[in-house]
């Protein structure tokens, strides 16, 4: 029975390292293919790690691809695998590796760095292997884990990246890590346009290893002038990504005010119906934007270096505020969804975002985003575009304000919408026309129901 290496999985496009929060399998536990082995904290969400292996390295941070455990049969010799992984590690690994407390001597304190192993190439994780002994098919015995080592893995072997020669050359010149890119060529081959898109998008531009976590918190004792809080993985991802949007993406902003009286009434009426999901103002806005984006494909677009990619489907990023930061889960094919469907799915995404239970595929691929600060009594604000998207809509509160109409002075509900646009993709008039049509839909909200 071959020994299966368990490596830190790459759980999102941006993931460079992950923190093992909890091992769910102990040394010696039997592992079935598909079992949940551990919970891993990434920069975006806590993700359950499937059928990889086990270990005792809880609390440690490991770079993507590094060896964190081994799955083998009881009588297998795992020394070679561990030693091989260990000998490949640069000298620096030894000093930076953190041996987990409680690890077995001689095993867990060996620093290791191995090439990344994509999940799909890990046969043990995919399908049960035929059993030779009395063990049930596919079951493997978990042995000791190797400690996480925070060194970048040697690249180039192991999971081979399919990329055109030109893509490789450009990636090398611009410092883009091909492992972080999704290829758009045949069979997922990475081609020039993918690298160019990535080098303008912060997602893949952040190739340097994430700054190591250093718990240097100062006690807030009397007299202390300040304290330094360690960056959470999410905060560090935000800190890395946002300047990479604001600096290279030339933003411009267009603001419009929407009369929300009729939408408000319609919403109250809908929410009064029994057996119907509760619908939020944001759901109205999502629906209005989705329909309008189909009419304005130029806004549902992305700058790709030498071309503009116009999307035919609308995948809506919905910014969700969390205690420690912000996350933007993606509601897919939202143009084809009813208001009720949007309400149910958006609520589900937001709830799971707060519990940090989102699946990685729910965190990428948006073509447009909405950020709503309405709950904070905000009149209006402007948001930072999340590249490679071309625009983001910032939504303020629905406020009761004095309104002048033909009948005189009255009270109306008004809401400010501000769209931030990538000037490389579109111009002011395009943004304004889009906003005008969103406004029209919201002011004649029955259109959102048909």
């Amino acid at each position: 029975m071959p020994v299966t290496k368990v490596v830190m999985p790459k759980l999102s496009e941006q993931m460079e390292s992950g923190k093992i929060i909890k091992w769910l399998k102990k040394e010696g536990d039997r592992v079935q293919s598909g079992d949940i082995l551990a919970e891993v904290e990434t920069d975006k969400a806590d993700v359950e790690m499937e059928a990889f292996g086990s270990g005792v390295a809880a609390g440690n941070k490991a770079p993507v691809g590094s060896l964190i455990g081994v799955i083998a049969e009881e009588n297998d010799d795992i020394g070679a695998v561990v030693a091989q992984a260990g000998s490949g590690a640069p000298a620096a690994a030894a000093s930076e590796a953190k041996a987990p407390s409680g690890a077995k001597p001689g095993m867990a304190d060996r620093p290791a760095a191995v090439p990344p192993q994509p999940k799909s190439e890990d046969p043990a994780a995919r399908k049960p292997s035929p059993s030779t002994g009395s063990e049930s098919p596919g079951s493997r015995r978990v042995q000791d884990a190797v400690a996480a080592a925070s060194v970048p893995q040697p690249s180039g072997d192991g999971g081979r990246v399919k990329a055109s020669p030109l893509a490789r050359k450009i990636a090398a010149q611009s410092g883009v890590d091909l492992k972080l890119i999704q290829g758009s060529g045949p069979g997922g081959r990475i081609v020039r346009r993918d690298v160019e898109a990535a080098s303008t998008a912060p997602a893949a531009a952040a190739v340097a290893a994430a700054p190591a976590l250093r718990p240097v918190a100062q006690p807030a004792a009397a007299g202390a002038e300040y304290e330094d809080l360690p960056l959470s993985p999410m905060r560090s991802a935000i800190a890395r990504r946002m300047p990479l949007s604001k600096a290279p993406v030339p933003h411009f902003y267009v603001t419009s005010e929407v009369a929300m009286d009729r939408a408000w009434e319609l919403r109250e009426e809908l929410n009064g119906l029994e057996g119907q999901p509760k619908i939020s103002v944001n759901d109205f806005i999502i629906r209005a934007c989705a329909l309008t984006l189909l009419q304005h494909p130029g806004v549902n677009a992305s700058f790709q270096g030498e071309s503009i990619r116009v999307f035919h489907r609308v995948h809506m990023g919905i910014a969700v505020a969390l205690e420690e930061g912000l996350i933007t889960p993606v509601l897919r094919d939202v143009h084809a969804k009813s208001l009720a469907q949007i309400a149910v799915e958006a609520r589900d995404l937001a709830e799971r975002a707060r519990q940090r239970k989102l699946r990685t595929q729910e965190l990428s691929g948006a073509t447009f985003s909405i950020s709503n600060l309405g709950m904070f009594d905000v009149r209006d604000f402007s948001a930072i575009i999340n590249p490679p998207e071309g625009a983001i809509l910032a939504v303020g509160s629905v406020r009761r304000v004095p309104v002048v109409s033909d009948e005189g002075l009255g009270v109306g509900r008004r809401m400010a919408l501000t769209i931030s646009c990538d000037h490389r993709v579109m111009d002011g008039a395009m943004g304004a026309r889009f906003l005008q049509d969103v406004k029209k839909l919201l002011e004649e909200p029955l259109r959102l129901l048909v």
């Binding site: 055109s164 020669p165 030109l166 893509a167 490789r168 050359k169 758009s184 060529g185 045949p186 081609v191 020039r192």
Partner: protein, 330 residues
């Protein structure tokens, strides 16, 4: 510049060279009294007489051998093959004598010989008369091979071939004899062998094609331009020597290449050019080089089957889309 047909351009080149150099003579089947099976030698017998324009029996090996012998002693023969398919009968003379005598004589003899005539697929000429014969010759060290696509090239390259001190295989095309184009009347206008030309500038993909395939590639490029694909077309003109610098230069710009050839693809010119590109410009490629070639089959007579065997505009356009990843197969 004058506008004339490809046929007239060849005729003009012959006339100019016959006038310029008394050592030049034309020999072949029906080149004199009949004025050429395809009328390329029209009027030459009357103008230059039977010592310079020599009719022969139907004996390709024989009159090719006469040409080689004459070239070895200082004349500059232009041997006409009624069609290049018949050159197979003279293959031993061409491959074992013309190509090798300079080498085997230690440089004592040159063979300044041109063998010219039409080749390649035409219209319903079937298996024995539709062959892309260049493949038989450019493999042989010591031969130069030329395939001129336009009237201007026909004139400029034929003159260069006649002035060259090596044996030159000069293959024309039945389908191009009536193509019209501008041709310089300057008797000193010569296009050096081994120089490719960019027929159309583009930025997305390089298509290498010559003769009829070049014209089909141009049509495909027009069509693809409507879809926003910008095609650059390089015509090599000479296959031996091959101007790889121009081809590579274009690929370095576009990062993609399609090579078109009318003949069967196996070990053909497409393979050669694709290999040159891969060896020289590997790091500039964003996609594998694709070939569009004739099927590995004898040319059928039936029109529909002939079309199925031959690279068409549609097949070329399809390959270009594929190499640009623009065929929806993502």
């Amino acid at each position: 510049m004058a506008v004339m047909t490809y046929r007239e351009a060849l005729n003009l080149a012959l006339r100019e060279e016959l006038t310029r150099d008394p050592n030049v003579f034309v020999i072949g089947e029906e080149v004199g009294l009949y004025e050429g099976a395809y009328k390329v030698t029209q009027g030459l017998l009357k103008e230059f007489g039977p010592k310079r324009i020599v009719d022969t029996p139907i004996a390709e090996s024989g009159f090719t051998g006469v040409g080689i012998g004459a070239a070895m002693v200082g004349l500059r023969p232009v041997v006409e093959m009624m069609t290049f398919n018949f050159a197979l009968l003279a293959l031993d003379q061409i491959v074992n004598s013309a190509a090798k005598l300079h080498y085997m004589s230690g440089g004592q003899y040159n063979v300044p010989l041109v063998i010219r005539g039409p080749g390649g697929p035409a219209h319903q000429l079937a298996a024995q008369h539709s062959q892309s014969m260049e493949v038989y010759f450019y493999h042989v060290p010591g031969l130069k091979v030329v395939r001129p696509s336009t009237p201007m090239d026909a004139k400029g390259l034929l003159k260069a071939a006649i002035r060259d001190d090596n044996p030159v295989i000069f293959i024309e095309s039945e389908t191009l004899y009536n193509v019209k184009g501008e041709v310089p009347e300057d008797p000193d206008f010569v296009i050096p062998l081994g120089q490719a030309v960019v027929r159309r500038e583009g930025t997305d993909v390089t298509v290498v094609a010559y003769m009829g395939m070049m014209y089909r590639a141009m049509e495909a490029a027009e069509e693809l331009a409507k879809d926003g694909i910008s095609v650059e077309i390089v015509d090599p003109r000479s296959l031996q020597p091959l101007d790889t610098a121009t081809i590579i230069g274009s690929v370095r710009k576009t990062h993609r290449a399609v090579v078109v050839e009318a003949g069967a693809g196996f070990a053909g010119m497409g393979s050669e050019i694709a290999t040159e590109i891969t060896e020289e410009a590997f790091d500039d490629l964003d996609a594998p080089v694709l070939r569009v070639t004739g099927a590995q089959a004898p040319m059928p007579y039936a029109r529909n089957l002939e079309r199925a065997k031959t690279p068409t505009k549609e097949k070329i356009a399809d390959a270009i889309r594929r190499v640009c990843y623009a065929n929806g197969s993502r």
